[in-house]
């Protein structure tokens, strides 16, 4: 079954049991074929809906002496933990870090932005996996802050466009690229189109 859905959502729409069941029913109906192979296209197309905005109120600054991204990451910990309690930790931290490690990891990327070499910045693990943990931490916290299921890519857009840490990660990516770092060192720190 060819499904024109946003990448990462093979069942189409989160928290829409009717839609998901309709898709499964269409899949199972293909089993009635008496000859094959069978190739069909699902009747409903869901395009990338990145124009949808995820609106999350970010917490105010806790410590003005901290880098804004580090301070922001620290301030989101309660929202992250509430979201994990409600939804489970499906995309949040787990690859390299625990939630308590996130501010320190963000600080390591701050050092890179400020000129420290990547291998001397203190990134606590494989950089692209640490970057995924940071992104997952924010996206999980966003579930609690927004209290609705974001459209496809709306969570990513919010992180990279609207948060201090998201902007930091894109800045670090540019710094590394401009410094001639190996492609693999910077490219996978964010989605490719960034």
């Amino acid at each position: 079954m060819i499904c024109h859905f946003p990448l990462g959502r093979p069942l189409g729409v989160p928290n829409d049991a009717e839609f998901q069941t309709r898709l499964l029913s269409a899949l199972f109906a293909m089993l009635d074929a008496q000859s094959g192979p069978v190739l069909e296209t699902f009747e409903t197309r869901l395009d990338d809906i990145a124009e949808e905005q995820l609106v999350c109120t970010l917490p105010p600054r806790l410590d003005p002496d901290e880098h804004p991204a580090v301070d922001e990451a620290r301030a989101l910990k309660n929202a992250y933990e509430r979201a994990v309690a409600k939804h489970g930790n499906r995309v949040g931290v787990s690859r390299e870090l625990e939630a308590a490690d996130i501010p320190e990891a963000v600080q390591a990327f701050v050092r890179i932005e400020q000129g420290t070499a990547m291998d001397e910045a203190g990134i606590p693990g494989v950089p692209m996996r640490v970057a995924q943990d940071i992104r997952g931490y924010y996206q999980t916290a966003a579930l609690e802050l927004a209290e609705h299921s974001p459209g496809a890519w709306a969570g990513e857009d919010w992180f990279y466009n609207d948060t201090e840490t998201g902007r930091l990660m894109l800045s670090v990516r540019r710094v590394l690229k401009d410094a001639g770092a190996p492609h693999a060192a910077w490219f996978f720190l964010s989605p490719g189109d960034r």
Partner: protein, 149 residues
Amino acid sequence: MTDQDIKNMVAQLPCPEFEAPAFTTAKPLNECRVAVVTSAALHHPEDDNFAAQDTSFRILDATRRDVHLGHWSPNFDRSGFAADINVIWPIDRLEELAEQGVIGSVAPRHLAFAGNQDESMTSIRLDSGPQAAKLLLEDEVDVVVLTPV
């Protein structure tokens, strides 16, 4: 946008062509045991993380809902799965269909591979893929829903 860029890139990748694709007729759906096999690199918290281009698979216990998404690629939306496990692993939907008698039963074990593979997929085709099929046959699975990520 992001999705279209990646779909355009993937469309240029070579895809195996089979001279004689396998086909079989299915028994009645209300007698079928159904499993999910996903390429989203899902795993339970105590399982080993997926390595980069990991060709092995993890077993998902149908009675549990605590799963992490261990995929290495940054190039897909994660927020849908963060909000609803069924958007990748439709385990609740299958249980509802089993309770309604639409499908026969839900398999006790479901499988997760990592979708970011080399183009040949040799190890999966020759090793872990057949191993996964053997496990599903042991559980008397009749139908598999593949959810690609």
